[in-house]
Subunit: 397 residues, 2 copies
Amino acid sequence: MSALHTVNNAHRRALGPIATPDRLLLGPGPSNAHPTVLQALSRNPIGHLDPLYVELMGEVQELLRYAWQTDNRLTIPMSGTGSAAMEAALANTLEPGDKVLIAVKGYFGLRLADMAGRYRADVVTIERPWGEAFTLEEIEAALREHRPAILGMVHAETSTGILQPMEGVGELCRQYGCLLLLDTVTSLGAVPVHLDDWQVDLAYSCSQKGLSCPPGLGPFTMGPRAEAKMEARRGKVPNWYLDVTLLNQYWGTDRVYHHTAPVNMNFGMREALRLLAEEGLEHAWARHRRNAESLWAGLEALGLELHAPEHLRLPTLTTVRIPEGVDGKAFTLHLLNKHGIEVGGGLGALAGKVWRIGLMGYNSRAENVELLLELFRTELPAFRPGAQTGRPAAVAV
Amino acid sequence: MSALHTVNNAHRRALGPIATPDRLLLGPGPSNAHPTVLQALSRNPIGHLDPLYVELMGEVQELLRYAWQTDNRLTIPMSGTGSAAMEAALANTLEPGDKVLIAVKGYFGLRLADMAGRYRADVVTIERPWGEAFTLEEIEAALREHRPAILGMVHAETSTGILQPMEGVGELCRQYGCLLLLDTVTSLGAVPVHLDDWQVDLAYSCSQKGLSCPPGLGPFTMGPRAEAKMEARRGKVPNWYLDVTLLNQYWGTDRVYHHTAPVNMNFGMREALRLLAEEGLEHAWARHRRNAESLWAGLEALGLELHAPEHLRLPTLTTVRIPEGVDGKAFTLHLLNKHGIEVGGGLGALAGKVWRIGLMGYNSRAENVELLLELFRTELPAFRPGAQTGRPAAVAV
């Protein structure tokens, strides 16, 4: 068959079947997926050009419009994670030399600025400390000074737990003739998002937070003004995989083959969005707020300090300051290895300073809040300075 | 909660649970996934920085090295489909103005050329008709004339059913100082591939063909010479999501967060690769060839003509010429709607001229060959010109 070469078994490993444990994922994401979403994932795949798949694509698009509260025609899940959808928002609209203004108040704002630079945009940033939001005055001053083609900002900053107020931002962008790009990775399906009312032109999200699906798809939407900018490009989109002018021919009425869709992930996404529509956005939003408020009250009752001021606090992701002298990493490893519960650490400027607790999608439930508060109450004391006895034995990772 | 805006229910649809049928996918892909791969997909996700996930990443990398027969350190599944991995191979290594030579003998060669242009390479192509392969002489002549930095070619052309002979190509590339990039989308796990023996510097594949996993991941590998070219870049990789210099920090020993990995798809990939290692490459390759040879003999016995000459015929994907006067699309729709079997049509220059039959991974089984041959024998005649009676009633799509 291949007489010239023999098979090298150096990298052949005899493994047992996969045996990952059931974790409770209360970190910054992924969050646990809904059980029926996991069932949907394990269905037999069908072809990406099968008439039944084409029908499913339409359902996913329509329910994404509902989740985002938008009429945008170009609303599709990108075949990659949320970061791919973030890149799609920039890659399709930016042309070399375009001025783009990024409002940075955490890790994901920095990522937007990094990505925009790779598309040869003239990137300018305004910054707020990690744990604050921008005021309309700050935004207007920057728009007036820089006159960008696009303003990019993060609605729900997963690195800080801050929810950026959006009222009035879209109007300012119209007034200054720029597109508004909004990261809704940690808000879609869980926190009020009104894309069209807010006059947002470009947005993206992920599958594994408010939508209760595993990671792997990046919902993406583009309004008419952004579409016009894309259509007026002088050259091809400098990213083939994320090129919306090509994807539009597959997701639109032509159904022209672009790439083989991640069919099973879209089965999961369809089920996740179906569950969200069944619950109703108002109920999902209220549930996330109610459970987050219980968590906040419980943590404060234990004497812990929340990093985000209450009026800017994100219901999906809570940043808790690690008390003086506590080894934050040791405590999260203890929760993971002893109790199978994942809680996140800080990122970037908040590394080592906060824990990040997520209550997202399927995981935003009262029982999870109670369980976690009980563990903070009973097991954190052993990690405080001076605690010598009663500290649970470390479990090897 | 959001008193300024009310929820618009225009796009809220009340859907029933997902109810896709069990298809037998004998087209160009996706192919059916192995049942235990589907089970793995539906496991509860774990965190992408969880020590157990990090361990699983290492297993996936190692088994990919086995499948490709390479020692390449940088061997990872890209978090997108095969097309994303194709783009990664170009995006990380090409710099503006680099000369790249693409050997085009089908649709996917054209795609490589399109992608390379988006990274501002100086793209030159050599072409063969759709159904032929390149000789070493043709390749050497083009290398001598163009002196490219990279030669890109497709090992197994899914659009034509042609297997490109690889003996001697790598040596020529070394001689002319260029990197060799090879598309193994329709060969990995199913057809002999010896990346290191062949001196291939860059390769990629997909999850949904020879590996028996649903679509959604794009295996990618890069050898030391390609790595050196990437490291000598003057600027950042112009694609953030696929930037191997960043991904290397996550998949390497540092485990620095890049993007949230598609955890469940990687569960599936780990199981798919585990099954391949259990079977052994030699057995998997022999099985694909044996079943393909049965299919070829059976189709020819029915008087059908195969598009690819026997010595270049791809075991995973067989192109069958649609007989004069037969409506090829009507027959494939009949197979899909009446029998739940997907067979593909032609792409590009072969649109309307061939059917494409895939026997890949889990689907490369004698029973599938027999079933399909029986349907061609009994039901194709009704689609031939002049057949008036006995044609099965059309089923609405």
